[in-house]
Symmetry: C2
Subunit: 717 residues, 2 copies
Amino acid sequence: MEAFKMTDNVIGFRFGNPVETGVIQGEKTQVEVNLPIELREEGGRISFTLKLTENDRVYGLGPNLGGINKRGRIYESYCTDDPLHHEDKTTLYGAHNFFVLEDDDVATGFFIDFPGRVKYDVGFTTLEELQVEIHGQDFDIYLLEGASIKEIVASFHKLAGKPYMPPKWGLGYFQSRWGYQTEEDVKKVYETFKEEEIPLDGIYLDLDYMEDFKDFTLSEERFPNFKDMALKMKEEGVRLIPIIDAGVKIEEGYPVYEEGIKGDHFVKDKDGKPYVAAVWPGKVHFPDFLKEETQRWFGDQYKILTDAGIEGVWNDMNEPAIFYDETSLQEGVEAAILAQGGNLNVNAFFSLRDKFMNIGNKLEYYRRFFHEIGDRRLTNEEVHNLYGYMMTKSASLGLKKHLGKRHVLISRASSIGMHRYGGLWTGDNSSWWSHLSLNLRMLPSLNMSGFYYVGADTGGFGGHVSGELLTRWLQLSVFTPLLRNHSAIGTRVQEPYAFGDVLTRANKKHIERRYMLIPYLYSEMLKTYETGGMMFTPLAFEFFGEEAQQAEDQMLLGEELMLAPVVSQNAKGRYVYLPEDMVLVDFKKYDSSLTLLKDGVHYVSYSLEDLKFFLRRNRLMPYTMPSQTVKDQDLSILKVLGYVDTEAVYVLYDDDGESFGYEQGKIYKTTLYARKLETGGMKVEAKSNHPDLQTVNFTLMDGTGEIWNEEVKVQRG
Amino acid sequence: MEAFKMTDNVIGFRFGNPVETGVIQGEKTQVEVNLPIELREEGGRISFTLKLTENDRVYGLGPNLGGINKRGRIYESYCTDDPLHHEDKTTLYGAHNFFVLEDDDVATGFFIDFPGRVKYDVGFTTLEELQVEIHGQDFDIYLLEGASIKEIVASFHKLAGKPYMPPKWGLGYFQSRWGYQTEEDVKKVYETFKEEEIPLDGIYLDLDYMEDFKDFTLSEERFPNFKDMALKMKEEGVRLIPIIDAGVKIEEGYPVYEEGIKGDHFVKDKDGKPYVAAVWPGKVHFPDFLKEETQRWFGDQYKILTDAGIEGVWNDMNEPAIFYDETSLQEGVEAAILAQGGNLNVNAFFSLRDKFMNIGNKLEYYRRFFHEIGDRRLTNEEVHNLYGYMMTKSASLGLKKHLGKRHVLISRASSIGMHRYGGLWTGDNSSWWSHLSLNLRMLPSLNMSGFYYVGADTGGFGGHVSGELLTRWLQLSVFTPLLRNHSAIGTRVQEPYAFGDVLTRANKKHIERRYMLIPYLYSEMLKTYETGGMMFTPLAFEFFGEEAQQAEDQMLLGEELMLAPVVSQNAKGRYVYLPEDMVLVDFKKYDSSLTLLKDGVHYVSYSLEDLKFFLRRNRLMPYTMPSQTVKDQDLSILKVLGYVDTEAVYVLYDDDGESFGYEQGKIYKTTLYARKLETGGMKVEAKSNHPDLQTVNFTLMDGTGEIWNEEVKVQRG
């Protein structure tokens, strides 16, 4: 063991000879300290136990099931393609090893820098114990201290590096479906959004656009004018965002396959031959994204897309997902042959059935292929959680190089470190009410891991959505930086206009309201780039008491808002807990209504047409008028809603929306200010270096519930 | 079509030539009325559409997923063995075709008397439409009118007949697990309950006790002294309750099989040979429970169990569940052989995998065997939902005949009509928090269908339970007439003492409190026998307004209580909506505390050790002191909690607990009475014909929050 100090509040402890994951950045100063936790070794695995008092809470672990407070369940960090996210599951697509243990007095952060499997038993087996099991002996543990969870998170972000920042158009609304099978299908969607005047910034393309599921190909038959279409739509501000899968089809004459073989870019089996697995294209090889040459080579392939006008990509199946490999398929076949005509007993039958039922993503597949790292040859299992991360790094390098400006990039598999290269969507969820509330609960733990450009498949990917669920989901998703409605082939169509006139109208309003919120959301994104920390914060991080601690269906957004979406079927409202006085906003294009509510619990009516949220005391929230695309936003007039008891200030960040200038601080800042005067009046000011901004309209509620409408010209500076 | 009047508020409409299901009893008077609903025919199916206004609510449909209000989902009445009850599922084990459509002004009941599949699209596809599709053309529809849902339910119960009534010991606590593999395992459980002094009235035996999964056999090897054990434990008040499956193992020399063949008791395939399917024992035949001779024959088999001291049975796998049949297995085998060595494309692979993955309970199996009904030969699909019902009727006939007193009988598959012969458990649920709340939501729709002896597998059957979840579940289940903790082999052990000292203590308290509540619960059961109607009533049935209508996690019990269990992980309390002033009871063996709460929403702390509920205004709830078994209950002293603002009365029903005397009204009645005097005092009385009852202790809260402790001697009469 060696220990090293990273900052005053962070010490790292190294055990064995860990694989370099590239997550933690910054200088390490060797120190003489012992890890204040007892480690146990058994069968090559290291575990430790943290005591939990009755009131301790555990937060973090990224995109996972369970509550905001992770107590009471088992979690495993092991990127897995499993589309049925019910309560028995212990892992989803991401593997995020950062968590904070908090009681009322003290909080401690833990980051386990290890690319293999880690298991967390958070008071499940034993109510009073958090048991961590690391499937290996080579890893770093970082302990982070701080006065609050938010402070710990911010120091973690300093070590883990600045997050990926999408272009501003990435905050638009995106329509997606596995099943837009032809150019005509895509155009139809595009045209319908135009006809219905529903804002839209892009359409995601699933596997349908490829030739035989081959990465970096465009189907001649179904998408003969891909580039023309992409460019023409982009002129109107609507981008196409194609999918890229991890596996490369084995096919003579297919350039990516042939180059990959020639350049030795694929992972190997035990005999040193490229490992063969089956995914969508049939048999494939997997690029060894852990090698820098391969990252560069694969990254360069994205040029085929950028040349066709593409500025955004989603990386999929990069856990990597495996449908089967030949060995396991052969085992199934042999078991089936033996079963022929026989009177199977029940165990023999289940064993046969399970050979096929459980043939996907078997643990043994990940033991059958290897990565070479320095002079070590490691199974994929040992470094599994780096795969999606490194694929995304590869894509990021390629897209940056070939575009010369910012791009949209999201990935299904993820681990911490990847946040510097891309965002993520929370994977193949379902059209379930429980996944709507899960979406909300995941947001803060994703922020804790450094991911801000995040969102769930709005409406749910698998299963059939009801119109009500889609609309309720939009009422949440309009607040998430990534807003994408995506669904699977064979499920009910899920576009916002697919559920009858009443809901089309409601959905259109919600998407317009999203565009109204973009200045604020984009500002908050730019701020997290500057300072780290949380964009979505649980009430428990800011307020004391049982009610705040167990508010699992409410969320703070920035320093300004509290969200309390309806997440139950057939509800026309809900109970909302206010930890302090707040102003309820019924948000509308014109004439939003404001209502002052005292702290405590309230029943709030919330119809399908409403978009409601709460403004915190002495806070301002800027917004603008809706537009059909992000590029059409008019920022000459800004509007502001506020709850101003004494005085309030908000600094709005903006930039050109596409260059990397923000990395050097090229930010437009607009300072919005309001003060309730002793004399009874309301004083407002706006100062800005934003080139477009001219006027600001304030609508403010004061502590007595009185409304003040004030307009000011912007002062330069 | 012919129409017939059943009562002033109920008219039946007959279409075609329906199979006699035996559900509706009573005289039919032919009338000249048209069904006020337009029917459509397509492909041999009849459908109709009911308009839903925005505020309409739909209740009923028995043991189903979704809310108390069924809007927004699709349901299918088609008994199915599917243990993964996630939100995509449309049917579970029961098929209950009674529902009520309600808006604020008027309620209408519908009962579709049809034994095949019925599909309900309750505002899912179209927000404003309830679409019903009957998979056939021969059925009765009953329309029920009434001033309230409760009135409609009560008239339905009059037509559908009196419910099954368990013996009083059936209200005790039951421990169960698939995996008590030997006599020693069972004794160990029994002994541990004794040691820990946790009340217990019986242990359920799953398949483990049988010889090779053969019905009506006892394993010589694992249960060599079955009868001795059963009798000895029964003397102590602890009964064994073995499982019986629907399928009869095909095995020469096995008497049930041989008699079944000889007596022509098995369902036939298209060639008239007994149909072969595979379930737990391997290949089986299914008794044709739709034939009365077979009902009698199979019913008589239960004598083997009653002779061994058994007084309760659970009927399982009676949808009937089918693991596979030879035709489908062979198809899988052939597909596997074709796949050998080939480079499968993705569709061919999924097709092969699905042949095994979806091999269970295929629809085509139910088209491959037949029932002879009169001169008709119908596929099982056409009369599918009668199977579990008729198996339970068969068991009921046999148990009645061979015991001569009441028995416990529950079934997994169910349809309306079966409520006269047995209770049900809600099937193979999971250790999920969402299934705890589902348990609560199912209770009223089961009551609407006439089922009162109901409960879920407490703690969850599949998956691993956390100690917290089991305890939270007990806090609900102590109120359900059937209280059984049951879990699957391979899952975490789930006895109430398996989660450490703190939770053992809490669980023990909850089970003791259950025994304290038995006089009240049993009284409510006897009353439903007398009057029909609801035991568990949604707030929406009694109170107006949005908050009552969407209170999906609260429930009225009888006329006296409101339940509001904690159904969220890591919660230390919850919000409770009080539609009117109520008294919060923190229920304890000694010194329960009472708190008067005003109407509206309240945050109520609710720890794992607590058992809390609410007393309605001017209501009394009797209880007694805990005992180790029901037979040991001391009813000489009764205790009463009450909230008496002006005056309150409760009539406690009791009987000998085991005879059929209650059918002739042989009931002990105790009238408990309290009145707040104008002069400020509290007057209490108790009058009874109960042979044991001597004294009643009242603890009453009045409208000012003052507590009155009063003891009275019971007046005879």
